[in-house]
Amino acid sequence: MADKSVEQLSVLVDGECEDWEVEFILRRLARDPVLKEHWECYHLISDAMKNNLPALVDANFTGQIRQAIDAESVPQVPAVAKPASLYKPVVGFSVAASVALIVGLLALKPSESPISPNQLVQTNNLPNPPMTSSQDTGPALESRLNNYLVNHNEYASMNSVHGVLPYVRMVGYEPKR
């Protein structure tokens, strides 16, 4: 797993990272000190190869900047009580993944009667269970179906015997690659 992260980091330094990967790598980078060291190393190598280095390189340059920032006094902001609504349980979910979820649901076992001519029925008769895009399946309808499955799995996740299975069902079905 660590190797994979380092590999992704290297791709990011080279500017060859897919858009959707960037935020995941940055989030991991923010909380992984080993990965941060790799990040600094890669940039040092890159600068050396491009002949962008000064005559003297201070290996602890970033550390000193960090210390300087820590030493700075932070302006005091009066604490504001958060409105109660912020503490409400929130579930975020992707249409893309949940589209795949409902298509899987429908594709594996065709319904007794067609759903509707221009909605999800196209997926039922194809030989290989497909991952359809939202354009041909009616995004509004799908979004309602998706909500149902997310709501159901969230409720199911409260039962300890099921462990992490309901969470896996929320993200375990990939959108089209």
């Binding site: 076992k109 309602r144 159901h152 409260m158 015997v161 993200v171």
Partner: protein, 325 residues
């Protein structure tokens, strides 16, 4: 002759006693397991199998009295992540995402957390010790939860010898075939878990709230629907009505459970639009059945056999029909 009968009676009695002991042991293991899943700090990697579908994921879990915190992310395919923290469940998925969200459900412990609920479960399931096995290089005790009828699925759980944590689980249909399986390939108890590893992400864009009313409040009322007869052991544990933030569609959500299996019934007015689902659909252990009733789409979804969702769908009727003679 009398002696033979006495010996036979004694032998039968001993078999009964040892069966009861085994069942009792299995319940103790399950109680320990529930404790372990809620209180342990751990980190591990698992695989999830459903039909032809195979996924690898990594999980970091922080237990404790203040509530569980957990982050899991995919190791295969596109990056996906689920964070459970501060009574929130947040799913992060690749770029083409548009967030849907806010179910508004309070994440209170499910009734199964209490040992006496395990006693009630015995009306519909048998608990059995199923020998020993090894998972992720660790010794495990296998426990089977077998349904007493065909209206629910069975479960097999591999519990780590020392902690009783579930290292492998399978949902089985009536012929014993695994519909869904999850197995850790690496698992470690952690003395402490760094808070940063399980903190919820800072999501800047506010998410829509399909589970809340116009003022962000959940609308709680009496259901407009009733069930003529529910499948054996199932009872209603929750009713909720909510409006989708994007489409303002009023949806009613009824949750039924037999203490282990969960079934959701969703109802929304069709208002001239085509139905979302008519008939049966399936994915892994999840079965769904849709029908149109009184100009409403009814959708029944749950980790139960097809016959059970179908029975629940056909038992559903408007409350008015019952109250009016």
């Amino acid at each position: 002759m009398t002696l033979h009968l006495a010996v036979l009676t004694l032998a039968l009695w001993q078999v009964e006693v040892s069966l009861a002991e085994l069942q009792g042991d299995a319940k103790e293991w399950l109680e320990r397991m529930i404790q372990a899943t809620q209180t342990l700090n751990y980190e591990g990697t698992f695989v999830y199998v459903q039909g032809q579908h195979l996924e690898a994921m990594h999980i970091i879990h922080k237990g404790g009295m203040d509530g569980e915190q957990q982050r899991m992310f995919s190791l295969s395919g596109s990056p996906r992540e689920v964070v459970v923290a501060d009574n929130q469940v947040i799913c992060l998925l690749p770029k083409q995402k548009k967030s849907l969200g806010n179910s508004g459900y309070q994440r209170s412990p499910f009734p199964i957390s209490l040992p006496q609920e395990l006693d009630e479960l015995e009306q519909n399931y048998r608990f059995k010790m199923f020998g020993k096995d090894r998972v992720a290089g660790m010794k495990t005790q296998v426990i089977a939860i077998q349904p007493r009828d065909n209206l629910r699925f069975g479960y097999k759980l591999w519990l780590e010898q020392e902690t009783a944590m579930v290292l492998r689980s399978a949902i089985l249909n009536e012929s014993g075939h695994a519909l869904e399986q999850l197995m850790f390939t690496d698992w470690q108890v952690k003395p402490e878990v760094d808070q940063d590893l399980v903190s919820p992400p800072d999501i800047k864009t506010p998410m829509p709230s399909p589970a809340s009313g116009e003022n962000g409040q959940l609308e709680e009322q009496e259901p407009d629907w009733l069930f003529r007869e529910l499948p054996q052991g199932f009872k209603q544990v929750m009713y909720n009505r909510f409006t989708g933030a994007s489409d303002k569609h009023l949806t009613e959500h009824i949750v039924l459970t037999d203490g282990l299996a969960t079934v959701s019934v969703f109802l929304e007015t069709l208002a001239g639009s085509p139905p979302l689902l008519k008939g049966a659909a399936q994915m892994g252990a999840m079965n769904a059945y849709g029908k149109v009733i009184n100009k409403h789409q009814a959708l029944v979804v749950g980790e139960v056999p097809q016959a059970t969702v179908e029975k629940i769908a056909s038992a559903l009727q408007p409350a008015q029909e019952v109250s009016t003679p």
